[in-house]
Symmetry: C2
Subunit: 188 residues, 2 copies
DNA sequence: CGTCGGAACTAGTCACTGACAAGTCGGTGG
DNA sequence: CCACCGACTTGTCAGTGACTAGTTCCGACG
């Protein structure tokens, strides 16, 4: 494809390149000039679409929250909180590039409309999953915070390889075992 | 105090300044030149003590893991896993500057001896706390991962103000409620 | 008491980055 | 066919990390 003045789909191309870099080297390695080089445009072209670096990362994060919402919404209707928790962890591992940006407020424009909309979608999907945990004996707010904390913490620590080796190398199995402890109770 | 050629305790001074900046503006705002200006030395002086930026942040992280170990070791002997969990969250909130660096491997020199030693200390302190959870009915490795994931996730999300407002603004109370769900079980 | 070696710090520099301004290109609607 | 405007380029500036070479001072040793 010949080098044309108008790229045609620069925004998407930069976004894709950013996700690739994120996956390989993390958020710190993402810079506009390198992405421009990869895509074959001038160093200032990406700024036209994203404003600045935080605008770019915000777009990645928004895409990530949409993907997360998709993941949770696509769970079979029979799924319970346990399955949703495992899905959350799986999402984090499979879409590490997105996940590592989604929860870094300092990198993002918190007031971006697209980001807020995507966050809202994923929050609703999570609320829906947690609703199944409301058995009357526990405060649903506490239960929701606990469930989210557990899977979010597990995903975070797993991605950092901070967990002890004993937990094995099968994310889904480990996540399920951990989530089961909360959902089914320690003393079933 | 007159400006002398030898600062006297530059390493500690830079470290303190770094923690201050971290607390105010997060890791991204920490740069060697600004710290040098704050402390009143030339722009390259900090590098003499820390090598590079990651060396500085590694020193902060090591200090953080030591502080965490101190916190956990100072718990009264009667404390159970629940109290340890609350202490973990309290530590994260009270020492946010340190906490925000401790679990960012990409910012650190993972092979730094001081860092490894401090991590080892805090790991042992956590293992000790989790030992109280070994009641035979659950795999201790799973229980440990679950407990750590829960409090780590809660602390992380709390610091990001990502949790819904319903959980209140009392960290300790909220952390205790959430941790209780895991320790005592959802259906007591 | 001198001197001398090395640690602590300064000064200068380079490559790289984000951000901005001004100009150019080219598709599209009137 | 032409004016407009979004898409992109070119040029530039300040700030940063990292490196090198030079300067100052402390303290140990003869």
């Amino acid at each position: 494809m010949a080098r044309r003045y108008h790229h045609g789909d620069l925004r998407q191309a930069v976004l894709t390149a950013a996700v690739e870099v994120l996956g390989d080297s993390g958020p710190a390695a993402v810079n506009l000039r390198d992405l421009a080089r990869r895509v074959g445009v001038s160093h200032a072209a990406p700024a036209h679409h994203f404003g600045d670096r935080s605008g770019l990362l915000t777009a990645v994060a928004a895409q990530g929250f949409d993907l997360l919402a998709d993941t949770l919404e696509e769970l079979p209707p029979s799924s319970d909180l346990l399955e949703a928790g495992v899905a959350y962890v799986s999402f984090a591992v499979e879409h590490r590039a997105h996940f590592e940006v989604m929860f870094r407020p300092e990198l993002l424009r918190a007031d971006d409309p697209d980001l807020r909309a995507a966050q809202e979608r994923s929050n609703q999907a999570m609320d829906w999953a947690i609703a199944g945990f409301r058995d009357g004996s526990v405060d649903p707010v506490v239960a929701g915070a606990a469930a989210w904390s557990l899977v979010h913490g597990f995903a975070t620590l797993w991605l950092q390889r901070a967990l002890p080796a004993d937990v094995g190398d099968d994310v889904e199995a480990a996540a399920r075992a951990v989530a089961e402890l909360l959902v089914r109770g320690a003393n079933p």
